[in-house]
Amino acid sequence: MFGQLVIGGFATGCIYAVVGLGFTLVYRTLRMVNFAQGHVFMAGTFLGLVIAERMHLPALPLLLVVGAVAFGLGMVLERFVFRRLYHNHEVFIVGSIGLGIVLMNGVRVFFPEPVPFPKVFGSEVVQIGTARFQEAYLWVVAATLILVVLLHAMFTYTRTGRALRAVAADAEIAGAVGVNVKRAIGLTFGLSFAVAAIAGVLIGPLYFVSFDMGDMVGLKAFSAAVFGGINSIPGTILGGIVIGILENLAGGYISSAYKDLVAFVILLLMLIWRPTGLLGRETPVKV
């Protein structure tokens, strides 16, 4: 039983990690939290659903197409919507919540009921020891790994990546040395939307998809990011996986009723103890 719970938890944890990355990327650059992130994840799933059913794309092209579309959408929304919300935290929070509501109910108009997602990652069941799971789980883990590696490579070795890091560290100075700050922020949003949407396609075949699937995932991914360090990419990944595994273990051994509680108790405790998270670095201003 332990093995089954851990493997299942690892996969959902990867999803929390990837969606959480979206929170982290935006936070690092802007010090703001985008609460539409969970619903972007959901929208990505439905985008993948529509494309998979209309164009019958296999797994990899599907992921790339959805990622690209989401990336574009993220940049466009940053330019016309998010940019007007930077006044202060609560304006950004409420505004992004509003955007999330629009996304969720927009999808709801077309898909009021839960629907199955095509099995683009195959439907074989894999067995390891006593643990059995859909092969799609392997895709989830593999994709997360590849995504993390790619992002790391981008941030370390490419000019764009270094520009983004510069803006994250100190936007004023970055601008002073010639980085196009506005474009960097736009790219950051594009990336955060893309990873969320890709996570959506990854998880699609595992469960039925419905317009409300982004709510809880978004909140847990947020908790994962805070837990691991909302300005640390490896921290967020770690946080996601830990929360995914812990909540499955709690659900299996203690009580399925309190499974969801795990993420939020961890969130609250971490904030009280160490707001920057496990691997975070910045010192918040505590007044």
């Binding site: 039983m1 089954q4 719970l5 299942g8 938890g9 959902t12 709801r108 009021p112 009921e113 839960p114 199955p116 069941v125 067995q127 059995r132 799971f133 859909q134 469960y207 039925f208 419905s210 409300d212 699937m213 809880m216 499955n248 709690a250 659900g251 299996g252 399925s256 009723a257 499974k259």
Partner: protein, 376 residues
């Protein structure tokens, strides 16, 4: 400043009053069910049943010349919204309500109907607490969990020969009500369940619960829940290697079960509210219904539509003819109603608590359809 508040409220109210459709002398029949969100497939069936019945009645001249106009309110299968939905029906001045899906929703919204003295025929909620000695205005046509859960317990032990039964149930009134009665029935039959676990209606991942169930090595798994949780449980159970046969009650009686769990649902045995093979009128109605509602954006769902249709056409309409729209007279007409309904063997009548007494039907999922249960 507070004048603004008053003006705003008055304008909003005026607009709402002006927006009601239908003529003043129409009979207003309210329908409340979940037509968005997870329980949509149930609510749509109910709405289709209502539309079909009302269309036929109005085409045949209505009730003594008056047409029936439907007032349909969506409660998104949410008890809190269901209370508001019922309050809207009360404010809209409907003459009676035929509908209501979901035990938690109905237990909540029937209080509004009872306080307002509004005749209410429940078609889609099976918890026994709905019809007791306390309800005066609420009547229920669908049979209760007391009947269903007991029947499926007997079938599981005596006809399917199950010895190691696991139970997974929704934590809401429907799931808990079924669980309690099922376990009590099992006890009478001398059987103990091997494991009992709950879940929340909105859960999507059941790995934790199913892993515990797998450890207990059951030969039967009773699922007391609704779409979309039930098919998700079935799919995930099979993925995890659980081979036990699934059994359940009316929450599973929804065509969407086979759409969402095409392979996993095969062989499931459940109690249902309607089956077209019970008698020829049932078959005739089912064919008419499927013809009328095929080709739309939603596939037809005869199982859920059947009760709404029968309640309106054979119970509400004759009583409206006989008693008019006087609420007290309507109520008494229901109390004294007796008759034959298609797909219900024998004669049906309401008992002292407002419950329609009738027998239930056992079916099995086979080849993607509900088929009469023949034995094994």
């Amino acid at each position: 400043m507070r004048m603004n508040k008053l003006v705003t409220a008055l304008v909003a109210a005026g607009a709402m009053v002006a927006a009601g459709p239908g003529l003043a002398q129409d009979i207003k029949l309210g329908v409340v069910a979940g037509m968005s969100g997870p329980g949509t497939s149930y609510g749509i069936g109910i709405r289709q049943g209502a539309e079909m019945a009302v269309k036929e009645i109005n085409a045949a001249g209505g009730i003594k010349g008056r047409k029936i106009s439907l007032v349909v309110v969506d409660d998104a299968s949410n008890p809190a919204q269901s209370v508001s939905a019922m309050q809207r029906l009360v404010s809209d001045g409907v003459d009676l309500v035929v509908g209501g899906w979901g035990s938690s929703q109905v237990l909540a919204n029937m209080e509004v109907a009872e306080r307002a003295g509004l005749p209410y025929i429940v078609v889609g909620a099976t918890n026994p607490k709905i019809t007791t000695d306390k309800n005066k205005w609420t009547y229920r046509v669908i049979f209760t969990d007391s009947v269903q859960a007991e029947q499926i317990a007997e079938a599981a032990v005596k006809r399917l020969g199950m010895k190691r039964i696991a139970v997974i149930h929704d934590a809401n009134d429907y799931g808990v009500g079924n669980r309690d009665i099922f376990l009590a029935s099992l006890k009478k039959l001398g059987v103990e369940p091997v494991v009992v676990v709950p879940y929340q209606t909105a859960d999507k991942d059941f790995t934790a619960q199913l892993t515990r169930i797998r450890e207990a090595n059951p030969d039967g798994l009773a699922i007391f829940g609704t779409i979309p949780a039930a098919p998700a449980i079935m799919n995930q159970a099979r993925d995890l290697g659980i081979k036990a046969r699934f059994i359940g009650t009316g929450g599973l009686a929804n065509e969407n079960l086979m759409t969402l769990a095409p392979k996993a649902s095969e062989g499931t045995v459940l109690t249902t509210y309607f089956h077209e093979d019970v008698d020829p009128e049932a078959r005739a109605w089912a064919d008419r219904y499927v013809k009328e509602f095929s080709g739309g954006s939603q596939p037809p769902r005869p199982v859920l539509a059947a009760w709404e249709y029968r309640a309106i056409k054979y119970i509400a309409a004759p009583c409206l003819e006989q008693a008019g729209t006087d609420k007290e007279k309507l109520r008494q007409c229901f109390a004294n109603w007796k008759g034959k309904l298609f797909s219900v063997p024998g004669e049906a009548y309401f008992d002292k608590t407002g419950q329609l007494i009738q027998q239930s039907v056992l079916v099995e999922v086979g080849n993607g359809n509900f088929q009469a249960f023949k034995g094994k």
